[in-house]
Structures are given as C-alpha cells and as structure tokens.
Point group: C2
Amino acid sequence: MVQNNSCLILPDPDAFGLTRKVQGVDHLGKEISLNVVEEQPLTIWLNGQEIVTAMTIGDYPEYLAVGFLSNQRMLSKDEAVLSIVFDPELQTVVVRTDKPTNYEKKLQKKTQTSGCAVGTLFGDIIETLEGLKLPASKVHTSWLYSLAKQINQMPSLYLSAGAIHGTVLCQEDEPLVYMEDVGRHNAVDKVAGWMRGSQISSADKIMYTTGRLTSEMVIKCSLMGIPVLASRSGFTAWGVELADQVGLTLIGRMRGQRFQCLAGRERLIYDANFEGEEEDQKHRRKSAQ
Amino acid sequence: MVQNNSCLILPDPDAFGLTRKVQGVDHLGKEISLNVVEEQPLTIWLNGQEIVTAMTIGDYPEYLAVGFLSNQRMLSKDEAVLSIVFDPELQTVVVRTDKPTNYEKKLQKKTQTSGCAVGTLFGDIIETLEGLKLPASKVHTSWLYSLAKQINQMPSLYLSAGAIHGTVLCQEDEPLVYMEDVGRHNAVDKVAGWMRGSQISSADKIMYTTGRLTSEMVIKCSLMGIPVLASRSGFTAWGVELADQVGLTLIGRMRGQRFQCLAGRERLIYDANFEGEEEDQKHRRKSAQ
C-alpha cells in the first residue's frame, strides 16, 4: 500500500462542457437522447511558436500542453516553465519558458503515428530511446488485478458517455491520477503534464491505459520514465520491440484476471490467486475504439 | 442486392509480414506465443516533397498514400496521378502528379486530430466541408444488420491477431472492400486510395468502420462523397455536428441488432425485424482500442 490511499485526480463525469446531450433514434426508430463526449480543437503554443492543434475533450488544457511538449521532447526536463496560459475563447494554451525555442525544422519532419494514436512524433524521439534503461521494478499481479477492478468501477466519462480513452497513473495498487480524453495519447500527455508539475517520482509507478500498446504509447511511457505499462487492449510488434529495448514491462489484454505479458516478464511477481474472475457486463469496455 | 456479390478485397490474415509471433507469459506464468500485428513507418512523398510518415501495418502502401493525399486535399480529384512507386527497402511511397506541388505552408499548420485518430488535418479541410451536401440516399436496416454480421464473421487480422481497426466499403448489403490497419484513419485512407483508382461511384455506398465516429472520420467520409457512415463504436459531439452539416447519415454503436443514429435519421428504412439478436462472444470486437 502506498501512503496516499485516495486518487488525486478522478474523472468528473458531470463537469460542465465535457459531454452534450444529442437527440437521435435507435434501432427501433425510438427517440433517444444520448450523452456524447465533446471534441474541440486546442492549439498549443511554445513561446512565440504555434506547435500543434490537438482535438481534445477540453479538460486540463494546461496539463495537456505541457505533457505534449514534454513527451515530444520540445520541453526538456531542466527547462523552467515560466507560465502556462489557457485562453478558452481562442482555444489556445501558451507555454512560456526561459529561453526561446525554434522547432520549425523539426516540424517539417512529421511522423503521423499509428494505432489511432495521434501524436506527431519527431524524428529524434526514437533516437532518444537509445541507451535508455528503465528501472527494473517488480510488478505484483495482485496490484494489477486490484487496479483493473478499481479503475473499471470508478465513475468516469467512459461509463457515462463512452467513446473515450482513459489513462491512469498508479503506484502499487493505488490509482493516483485518472485522465480521460478522446484520444488516448492526449490522456497520457495530461498525466505527463501533471507529473511534471508535481515533481513526482516515476520509477515506482505503473501506467494503466485503455488503449492499444503501440510504439507511440511505449515511447511516451518510456520518456516519462515509467517502467510498467498495462492495458486492456492488445499489442503491436514494434511496441513490444521498443519495450524490450528500454526494459519496460508490457502487459496487455487485461480482462478480469487474465492478461498477457510480452516484455519484462522476469519482473512479474505472481502473488494473487487466479480465480477465473470475469468482468461483469457493465464494466466491460467496448466503445472507446 | 448489388451486381457484384463477392467482396473485391478481403483481409488476408495469413499474408507474410503483417503479423509476427511474439513470446511471452500469461496471467498464470504460462509460456505463450501470441500473433501480434506489425507496425512500421511508411513515408509518403508527393512529387519532390516529403509529406508525412505514417505508422501502418504495411499492406496496400500505394492505396494508403493516394488515399491519404486525397483525403488531405493535397491531391485534387482532377489531378492526374502519373505514377505511384513503393520502395519496400526505404519504406517510402512516391506519388507523382502532372504538376508540381508545394504544401510547405500547409504543413506548418498541423492539426493533431483526436480520438486515436491520427491524421494531420490541415486548416482548410474544415472549410472544404462548407457547402458540401451529400446525396440523400436511403439506408435499409436490413442492410446494416446483414453487413455487420458478414463483416464480423469474415476472416480478418482482427480475428487472428486483434488490436487492429477495420474499414469496409459497402453497397447495400454487400461488403466490397475490407481494409485493416493499426489506425482506423489508415484503413479509411486505403479505401479512399482504392476508390480513386477504381473510379467507382461513392453516392450509393456505405462506409462501415470499427472506429469511433469522431470529427476526423466524418470529414474523411464526407470528402470521399459517401453518404452513410456506420460504426460499432460511439460518437463525439463534433462528429455529429459535422455529419448534420453535410447530410451524412451517422450510425453508431452497432452491436447485434442494436444501433443508434444521431444524424440523417430521416433516411433510415426500418425493413428488418428486430429479434434482439446479440453477437456471439467470439465475434465481439474488444481489442482494437
């Protein structure tokens, strides 16, 4: 058990502006009113330079901006962030640092990433992974089971509206920060933004995501220094390869008490009894594809 | 029934190079060998200009390149494509047209799209939708039920390896072209590339996808001139708004015989008996998030 036994940031399914009621019909022609997640542009600036326009659900724009810039290696760890200003009218976030930056050259080489993984990966990110070795922290299967169960049952935009991804920063069996967004990459970036602000250690953390374990997800998690990435969803071969390279424990297809581990298996500690427990219908994720 | 009653392009789960066996362990610590989809970079060039590097499963690189450029409005409908050259060593596709193009300015303004929807949307695409009205073609619920059932049961990389999206171009109750890719945007772009090459009409088609109905999916489908977009997954509010604007019939959360229609409801023809049929466990999609 970690010291802090309550989640620091939880989803707020009732927050204003994150969902909207939309009218329609169902398969029987019956009128329905559906709770649908919002999706809106947010343009991220770094000093005087427009970097990217992300489509986001709209919460935590400051974390999203700082996390995106950090995960893209546009904002280095030792660079001081002087201010982060969100303008809801203009739908912009301006991040200011203590030195001017120019990423035009990098912007010219864009990598359109896969797996429904948005995320503009720049050419040098893959190189950044070279030589990186994550701490070899152990993972208890009891933590994984407990986390999956807690996260599935927490109130969330997923449960109230669907069609959204979740990413949860965890420590042992405690969820600490649970972010949701239309794209899973945004949810991860928001966690990264929060971590940068809180100066929390990454070495003893576990990242749980609803999204697939593609190269992009493995890269983001590695750059954040988190040694364990667990998901409800499946793998890509390159994701597994990169995880092997940096020493990331990669666990996928977590459903009920079942999972598959394709990298870092030597760090798993099987301390939970497998009772063949399945997820109940209500908490099976199915819509956030 | 349409004239052609066999699918023109089907997934080939056994094709060389699309999946790889990866060793790991399961929740019991038992050795497993898992079939995992590949994910590799493909750099798309238009004439002398490098446009984007997409992460893709690797099949149909020519369709992906042409479809991507078309859907980004970098390749107009009346522009002649002189050659499409795929180099498997360099992992590049070079598309050559009869006039030089320069998209550097557009490349500077990148839109990172949402919903696990990669796809670099350029500033003027939204404007392109203004004034667009799709043909008001009717949709029979019997077609939808039949399509969903056929598509779910066809051999596919999804069924053999999981963690992949599918997009199927259909006409009435016939699947015509079924493309899969790590990202759903790539799968749609591959269909667009095929359509451009085949000069097939779009007005009487239905696009079926496993991915969510975000703004990006609605935009791509609209620009392809297809008036119906149906999905297993859910909606975003902006996706619904754009569909309303261009007259796209938007059907989501198709599971068994259930669905929800949030735009274009007046075009639905309820000609199928609802028998409450559920999908069997095997064919429920769950991993391609």
